[in-house]
Symmetry: C2
Subunit: 173 residues, 2 copies
């Protein structure tokens, strides 16, 4: 996509957005970045995605301005830009939609507002504070349902602990 084979409706911004985040794997990569995954190998291992495709996706996300590549102590890290962080509501709502409308009522992960320790609702609103917190002010933790923690890789194990969104995840080597 994005090379002329895209949705050819230049007037429509939904089509434009989908050229960036509508390809296979892309939104899952973005979600992992929100969870604090930043390294090539960690993304690859957690998503079970081929190296070539991951490289391609990171490239389109970078040229679209969703991710930025930062080299810290020799290793590249992929971090969300402003445009990338603006995708949080989309990721959150789609996850909630999947929870409600694809079989199984047990949330795989629960999100709470760090400032007041209240779980946010289906649209990301914090009832006790009366507003919708930034993703950076949310804590993810695994839910209690049987669907929690199906995978068992280094990233999934790190996410077994409550973790603040948008902060780097500590991944055991």
């Amino acid at each position: 996509m994005s090379l002329g084979t895209g949705y050819d409706q230049q007037g429509c911004y939904l089509a434009r957005a989908l050229e960036v985040v509508g390809e296979r794997w892309t939104l899952l990569i973005v979600r992992d970045c929100f969870y604090g995954v930043r390294r090539f190998t960690d993304l690859r291992e957690h998503l079970d995605i081929s190296r070539a495709v991951l490289t391609a996706r990171l490239d389109t996300l970078m040229t679209a301005g969703v991710l930025r590549r930062e080299v810290s102590d020799g290793h590249p890290e992929y971090v969300l830009t402003e445009a990338g962080r603006a995708l949080w509501p989309v990721v959150y709502l789609l996850t909630k939609w999947g929870e409600q409308y694809t079989s199984g009522p047990h949330p795989a992960r629960v999100y709470s507002h760090a400032d007041c320790d209240t779980d946010v609702d289906d649209v990301g609103h914090c009832a006790s504070c009366g507003y919708t917190p930034d993703p950076a002010d949310l804590i993810v933790r695994p839910g209690s349902g049987p669907n929690a923690m199906r995978r068992d890789d280094r990233v999934a194990r790190a996410l077994a602990e409550p973790h603040r969104i948008l902060t780097p995840l500590e991944i055991s080597s």
Copy 2:
């Protein structure tokens, strides 16, 4: 997808949601359904999608419970179910994201609350009523920017008039 080649992370509801609405064309089809497009040929013509792929997508959307097929006066019509209508916030937010973060600041379409005639904001909220209206209570109209109305098919012409979302679109033959 959905035939075993899907994202193989059963614990994650985002992945589940993407198996339904994450394929190429799917969300554009859903958006057109919100706009009141209901017939095979109209979808095909407006989206410039191949017949085979449109058939496949309608099938997965129906088995996922997003669309329902209703035969009225001999012709099948595809209408959004409850689960399908629940996708409105996702469609709306992604469109707004595309507007903000892919070049070009001119909204292709503008959405207003039918009850009070106020344009809704970037998260779909109506400032004068103080809540977020249902999609069925919104009116779409083309924006004034240069990006409005690039296409010129029967559906695009019908959408040149202000139109209430989720009501069938009158398409000239």
